[in-house]
């Protein structure tokens, strides 16, 4: 893989790739500062624009946007006490008090610096792990691929926010929806309802746009909960001092980056958990805890280093096993498929340049967003005060026209609306959209590996190979664990 590092870097730096990176970063920053909208939404809306691009530019645009969202969200968390995304929630604890103390510039400098270097650490760890992943992938055959995908879904359900039973149902629904269309193994048309439109299955782009952009915009329109009326009136003094802060508190910064990377490796956990754990780590490892919550820069560093480092970690399962490490990367895998690149264990072997482009884009996006973010912090924060009655209709328009623009098929617009409604209902009734989307992406891989295993080895193929059997046992353990813990807790309660 590394022998291609320089040629891929040259391609990465050649025009117009830097322009796409910058455009992605700007889009990500804007969506990051808008409360209620974030990475999945901006990626879903950008997807249709990548159709006319080559796969490299498409990846650069999308990773640029994904990488910029967390810092965009931290701007509003620090300046107006409103986390732009859930993964910036813990940043408000010390970021906003710093703003009230007149240290907004210092807080933003620290957030930007911790984000940039946190992402670099995540990318370095990713780069170190990938060659090992190659060996793991070579030990994989169809049963292992099937069991790995199944285990990934189980982990996502286990770690889903809220109800695990519903997350499993959502994952099952996603897998069932992935069976719509032509079954490649047998040539059978399934669930097409007699229409040509469904022969290719449910299209990912309209589904993703509906589930995230439309559902979220409708949710914002009806709730109006994310409108902020706070005005920014902060001095940007002390930015440089803030930029140097992670190096003054290097232990906190490094530990948070490592925590973020590890959280990222576990599929489906996401930046919110990394952000909280990074903050908790900053508190628990500090001798003087008295200033936390009152404007301690260590709180900002701990929270922000972790949520940016998680992207590097999230690329590990995405690249090695084709299991998205986060929702953003589920959308990214969808983009790869649209560009003819099949995610899965073979991706690392057949297209190592894709992995390199992702690493470069991740690092560069964070550097660019760090600079752009610091320079435009006040302006970005003022975007979040734009009324939802203006933002949400515009998002809806971009969602519907974007889905139509990809192939010019009106069926895509209806699909977007149907999935928008489904997404809204899932938000409302606590069903995990993450589980559904990841299942929708993994469905074809699961079915293909199931058919291949059954044809070559039969059912016994899943249990007579050690890796596959191990994954099966882990999956069963994951699925049983919460229910056993629940029984244990109830027994303790009744005893007490």
């Amino acid at each position: 893989m590394f022998e291609q590092a320089m040629p891929v870097l040259a391609e990465f730096l050649s025009w117009p790739s830097p322009l796409f990176l910058l455009l992605g970063v700007l889009a990500g920053l804007v969506f990051g500062v808008l409360p209620g909208l974030g990475g999945p939404q901006v990626l879903a809306l950008l997807l249709p624009l990548t159709f006319t691009m080559n796969s490299t530019d498409a990846i650069i645009l999308l990773i640029g946007a994904a990488g910029a969202v967390p810092l965009g969200g931290s701007m509003t968390a620090i300046l107006i006490n409103t986390p732009g995304t859930p993964q910036n929630a813990a940043t408000t604890y010390d970021g906003y008090p710093m703003t009230r103390m007149g240290k907004a510039g210092q807080a933003i400098g620290a957030a930007a610096s911790a984000s940039v270097f946190g992402a670099v650490i995540g990318a370095v760890i990713l780069t170190a792990i990938l060659p090992l992943g190659r060996h793991a992938v070579l030990a994989f055959s169809y049963p292992e691929t099937f069991m790995m995908a199944l285990m990934g879904l189980a982990i996502i359900a286990l770690l889903a926010k809220g109800n695990m039973w519903k997350a499993l149902i959502a994952a099952g629904l996603g897998l069932m929806l992935s069976t719509v269309g032509l079954d490649i193994a047998t040539g059978t048309m399934r669930y097409t309802l007699g229409t040509y439109y469904l022969i290719d299955g449910i299209k990912l782009i309209p589904a993703l746009i509906g589930l995230f952009a439309v559902a979220e915009a409708v949710s914002l329109l009806t709730q109006k909960a994310s409108i902020t009326t706070a005005k920014t009136s902060s001095s940007m003094k002390g930015v440089l001092e803030g930029v140097m802060a992670p190096f003054r508190h290097f232990g906190i910064f490094l530990r948070s980056s490592l925590i973020g990377t590890l959280i990222g490796i576990v599929p489906g956990v996401g930046g919110a958990v990394a952000n909280f754990l990074g903050y908790a780590q900053a508190i628990s490892t500090s001798k003087d805890k008295s200033q936390f919550g009152k404007g301690d820069i260590r709180g900002v560093i701990g929270a922000e280093a972790a949520n940016n480092a998680k992207d590097g970690g999230a690329l590990v399962p995405t690249l090695i096993f084709g299991i998205p490490g986060s929702l953003e990367f589920a959308v990214l895998l969808g983009a790869l498929m649209i560009h003819g690149i099949q995610p899965g264990p073979r991706l690392m072997l057949d297209s190592p340049q894709i992995a390199l482009v992702m690493i470069y884009a991740l690092v560069m996006a964070n550097i660019v967003v760090g600079v752009v973010g610091v320079l435009s912090a006040n302006f970005l924060a003022s975007i979040s005060t734009v009324r939802i009655s203006l933002v949400a209709p515009a998002v809806l328009m971009f969602a519907l026209v974007g889905s139509y623009a990809t192939e010019g098929h009106i069926g895509d617009v209806y699909t977007t609306i149907i999935f928008g409604l489904l997404g809204y209902v899932m938000i409302r009734y606590d069903y995990s959209r993450v589980a559904l989307v990841i299942a929708l992406v993994l469905g074809p891989i699961l079915q293909q590996s199931l058919h291949q295993t059954m044809s070559a080895q039969g059912l016994v193929g899943f249990v007579n190979r050690p890796i596959s059997l191990t994954f099966l046992l882990i999956t069963l353990f994951i699925l049983i664990l919460p229910f056993v813990r629940g029984r244990g807790q109830r027994a303790d309660t009744s005893t007490a």
Binding site: Y93, L400, A405, G408
Partner: protein
């Protein structure tokens, strides 16, 4: 029995799964093995969820329906200062009527887009939607419609060269 929206949604999933399982028997063995097996499993899971949602007594007898994922257990939320509140994704549940209105408007937009051009459909829909549904004032709604249409024209027609 509490036939709430939550329960109805669970029932809807169960019915969809039942339909997909029954329909799968029209396909050959290899083509149906995955959807029939998985669909049956999800049907029973969704049915139990429906029973739990509709009958609180059932929920108590099937405690696994309420089992939580472990993602946020033991997280640093406990370290949060008490005066800091992070907004939940949904703090209040609005009534369904405006939701139906929004989705009906989106379907109307799709029809308009199908029979005209996006250069007609977008400004017309956006102005009416922002003004009537989102309750925006007249002038900002007009500005939004004009601004978004020009931006879309530049992106889709000029830069991407889309013809629709």
């Amino acid at each position: 029995m509490w036939l709430t929206g939550r329960a109805l949604f669970s029932l809807l999933i169960a019915l969809l799964m039942a339909y997909m399982v029954v329909a799968s028997f029209d396909y050959g063995f290899r083509a149906r093995v995955f959807p029939a097996t998985l669909g049956s499993l999800i049907f029973f899971m969704a049915l139990l969820q429906f029973l739990g949602d509709a009958f609180p007594a059932v929920q108590k007898k099937l405690p696994f329906l309420g089992a939580k994922g472990i993602a946020l257990e033991g997280s640093a939320a406990s370290h949060a200062p008490k005066d800091t509140q992070v907004r939940a994704e949904h703090e209040r549940k609005p009534s369904w009527l405006p939701i139906y209105g929004i989705f009906a408007a989106l379907v109307a937009f799709a029809v308009l887009l199908h029979f005209t051009s996006f250069l007609v459909a977008v400004p017309a829909f956006l102005f009416l939607f922002a003004w009537l549904v989102a309750k925006e004032r007249l002038i900002p709604a007009l500005g939004l419609a004009a601004g978004v249409t020009i931006f879309m024209y530049l992106i889709f027609r000029v830069i991407l060269g889309s013809q629709f």
